[in-house]
Amino acid sequence: MLDKIGIAKRIAQELQDGWYVNLGIGIPTLIANYVPPEINVEFQSENGILGMGPFPYAGEEDADLINAGKQTITSLPGASIFDSDTSFAMIRGQHIQLTVLGAMEVSDRGDIANWKIPGRMVKGMGGAMDLVASADNIIVAMMHTNKRGQSKLLKQCNLPLTGVRCVKRVVTNLAVLDIGPGGFHLRERAPGVSVEDIQAATEGRLIIEGDIPEIRTA
């Protein structure tokens, strides 16, 4: 089984040299720490910066330099700053090669729900709907089941949707799955996790073809 860092490390393997990447809040944020050293990627934050660097040293925080999670950040050489409309022009215009975000539910046709739970305080979708409606390459990073042990990989989302037929790949603590014809195609399983474990934790249609290798994150 992978922990959150393991999920982040596995997704970091998807990164390719020269890519522009938008990382959502939560597990996705961790991915920035595991970029393979031989490649260059640039991180976009939808509040208006490309070329985000690490957090500042204590005492060097700049209130005018934050990320979409409102955290103080730094910028790297080659960074650029822009307004919110230009930022979403990058997103809607498909200039970003990879978007990684968390989810509460994903359906086996690629629908995603991650912004609203009826009856609870609704905080809003922020940029999530723009991201999922536009991106070509969306990976969801999440736990395979919720806190009550219920599958988050479903035949159909129960929660209000963020976007439809958009998720391409899901990386969870148990598995790597692609969304394709017929449902979730199991690609890799986490160390110590059996195909049966994954089947049991997946409510949506699961397609298992051939040998399913173990995820390597070393």
Binding site: S45, E46, N47, G48, I49, P54, F55, P56, Y57, A58, G59, E60, E61, D62, A63, D64, L65, I66, N67, A68, G69, K70, Q71, T72, I73, S75, I81, F82, D83, S84, D85, S87, F88, I91, R92, D111, K116, M121, V122, K123, G124, M125, G126, G127, A128, M129, D130, A133, S134, P160, L161, T162, G163, V164, R165
Partner: protein, 233 residues
Amino acid sequence: MNKVVSGAAEAIRGVESGMTLMLGGFGLCGIPENCIAALVNANVNDLTCISNNAGVDDFGLGLLLQKRQIKKMISSYVGENDEFERQMLSGELEVDLIPQGSLAARCRAGGSGIPAFYTPAGYGTEVAEGKEVRYFNGKPHLLEHALTADFAIVKAWKGDPYGNLVYKGTARNFNPLMAMAGKITIAEVEELVAPGELDPNTIHTPGIFVQRIFQGPQYEKRIEQRTTRQRES
């Protein structure tokens, strides 16, 4: 062209109860602190506020919420605010949640004489309810309409008496877009410089979009999430 006013109180003259305001900023970054303080002191309520976020309990738009001056918020994300939650759940406050990119584009469209445009964001979700769906290149899109405001209130780093503005870092965010969309646009700046001091090539908001400008006496610039790293020794 001299658009300089004496301060926030003079700048917000004409803001009346029931009006629609746009306020720049993302979280607490790049918000017009001095104008918000002036609005808190002004006798105006039933405001519709278009702002990406709603501040925190004791800063930013949270100050207007505390005094029940806001009737409706049009935003993309409104967490981090208990009073907001209370008013929303009790039905005192109307909330219209809009995808962030659509919000930005709708403000810019409002200032640009583009009454409506199509975007893929929100198709197949609650946001699509009541909206025209149209396919382009086989992909569904929603028709979204421009937003404008009686007053747009923005905050910049530097400005000049012509209303030309330069923003700093990610404090830019929605400010230049909203500046375009106000019937009257008020800019408060950290530093008001003489005409000609700003390089015409580096101006983010041309002065034509700004009607009133002043230098804020001080800026708290509160940080919402202070994140740092350790120095390697």
